[in-house]
């Protein structure tokens, strides 16, 4: 493991973070934030965490930045009142905050330093690494943990996404969507026409091979959402709305969640308890083949549906508001 490369990456992460914080121009601080995300993804990859790197690259540096830009372009920013902030003068606030953060950093570092002893695998992890193939038939241990050993938490997680989507569409409800919106130029449209199938293929591969190679429901779903956003941007919301209406997005989302619960119930039906793998219709199959991880494939599909539809409907709701702004 190359030590200097990691040090270099850490330095750049901190550099871009500082830039993102102290730059006055918001747009460029957003971009440097996404650069931090990308660098973080490379660090994760170097630290032997491919799944997390993939997710980080897609969600934190991809989706979040696009949502950030949409939110930024929507809010009408009247210039900040330059007067001294009334709560407490800035000359007092900056040093005080700096002191607090420095103390916090010292404390955190001291705490972590005492932790940094010799690292050995705990019992749980050794069990996971040794038994996953036999117990779940999946090759990707992380996906096995997520979808088999701790499937219930993943269900909880999908409900969190559901809650976020519901919250956002509640907050930003109202405002109708303008149909006739031309997208970008002809060249970009044709280019996208060429690229979209490959993107979709890539998303499907992440989704369905989640239990074999790094990937899974969340990453696949997010890539689908990104593809939806790209189409929305390139071809304009008119084209996109006629293709996949918001109603169908909702049904997809709810369908994903229900599929997840249904698979869980299937496990319970065969006496294995809610979300039990390798029970009834689900069999371990030959490791490495597509239908090998018991119900993990279908769970991935359910989560993918949910996350894809959810995130794209978030983007869709935000976009919709924007269009309404554009009209006045």
């Amino acid at each position: 493991m190359s030590e200097p490369l990691l040090a270099f990456l850490y330095f750049f992460i901190l550099l871009t973070a500082f830039v993102a914080v102290f730059l006055d121009d918001l747009l460029s601080s957003f971009i440097s934030l996404s650069v931090t995300g990308v660098l973080m993804a490379t660090v994760f990859a170097l630290l032997r965490a491919p799944d997390v790197a993939l997710t980080q690259a897609i969600i934190n540096s991809g989706l979040i930045t696009s949502l950030l830009l949409v939110a930024y372009s929507h809010t009408r920013r009247t210039p900040l009142p330059s007067g001294p902030c009334t709560a407490c003068p800035s000359w007092l606030r900056w040093p005080l905050a700096a002191l607090i953060c420095f103390l916090l950093a010292v404390l955190l570092f001291r705490g972590m330093y005492s932790l940094a002893g010799e690292r050995a695998l705990e019992t749980a992890s050794t069990h996971f690494l040794a038994e996953t193939l036999r117990e779940t038939g999946a090759l990707n241990v992380v996906a096995a943990i997520l979808l088999d050993y701790r499937a219930f938490d993943t269900l909880g997680e999908t409900t969190v996404i559901f809650a976020a989507v519901a919250g956002i569409s509640l907050l930003l409800s109202g405002g109708k969507h303008v149909r006739s919106r031309q997208g970008l130029s002809f060249i970009v449209k044709r280019g996208m026409a060429l690229l979209t199938p490959f993107l979709l293929l890539y998303a499907a591969s992440i989704l369905f091979l989640g239990h074999l190679t790094p990937g899974g429901g969340f990453q696949g779903g997010s890539v689908f959402a990104t593809v939806a956003i790209l189409i929305c941007v390139v071809y304009g919301t008119g084209f996109d709305a006629s293709r996949v209406s918001s109603k169908s997005k909702e049904t997809l989302e709810v369908g994903g969640a229900l599929l997840f619960v249904f698979i869980g119930l299937l496990g319970a039906a065969w006496g294995g308890g809610f979300l039990a793998n390798l029970k009834g219709p689900f069999f371990p199959g030959t490791p490495g083949s597509l239908f090998s991880g018991g119900n993990m494939l279908f769970l991935n599909l359910a989560v993918g549906l949910k996350v894809g539809a959810g995130l794209s409907s978030i983007f869709y709701v935000m976009i919709k508001i924007l269009e309404q702004e554009g009209e006045q």
């Binding site: 850490y10 500082f18 993102a20 914080v21 918001l26 934030l33 931090t36 995300g37 973080m40 660090v43 630290l47 032997r48 965490a49 491919p50 799944d51 997390v52 980080q56 934190n60 979040i64 939110a71 930024y72 929507h74 809010t75 009408r76 920013r77 900040l80 902030c85 709560a87 606030r93 905050a97 607090i100 953060c101 916090l104 950093a105 955190l108 570092f109 972590m112 940094a116 690292r119 695998l121 705990e122 996971f128 690494l129 090759l139 990707n140 241990v141 992380v142 943990i145 997520l146 701790r150 993943t154 969190v160 996404i161 809650a163 976020a164 919250g167 956002i168 907050l171 190679t213 490791p287």
Partner: protein, 111 residues
């Protein structure tokens, strides 16, 4: 090597907190939040790394890296993304009311 990543985590986290404490723009607060969250992610992963470990994909070529924190981090990233999206929605809504993005102008929660 671990010490270096722990140092980065500490600095990144306190930087995020510093942003939230100092900056008056709501978007900068969101940036601060993102930094703090990614610091935590980095802590998880660098804590899970074992020097000669391989990625937790079977069949393992050598000793594996600790897969449990990876699963936790995955969940953390997704949930972090959700609440950031909510934060954007809040900012857009508040901007609708207050017509500015200055955090000090959101003073409805008075004592």
């Amino acid at each position: 090597m671990i010490i270096m990543s722990f140092a980065t985590v500490a600095i990144l986290f306190s930087l995020g907190l510093f942003t939230i404490l100092v900056q008056r723009n709501a978007f900068k607060t969101v940036i601060g939040l993102t930094l703090m969250e990614s610091a935590v992610l980095l802590l998880f992963i660098s804590w899970a790394y074992i020097p000669e470990g391989w990625a937790p994909i079977l069949p393992l070529k050598g000793s594996g890296v600790d897969p449990l924190p990876h699963a936790l981090t995955l969940t953390a990233i997704v949930i972090g993304a959700c609440d950031l999206a909510l934060a954007f929605a809040f900012i857009m809504k508040l901007n609708g009311f207050e017509k500015t993005v200055d955090v000090d102008s959101f003073r409805r929660l008075k004592g």
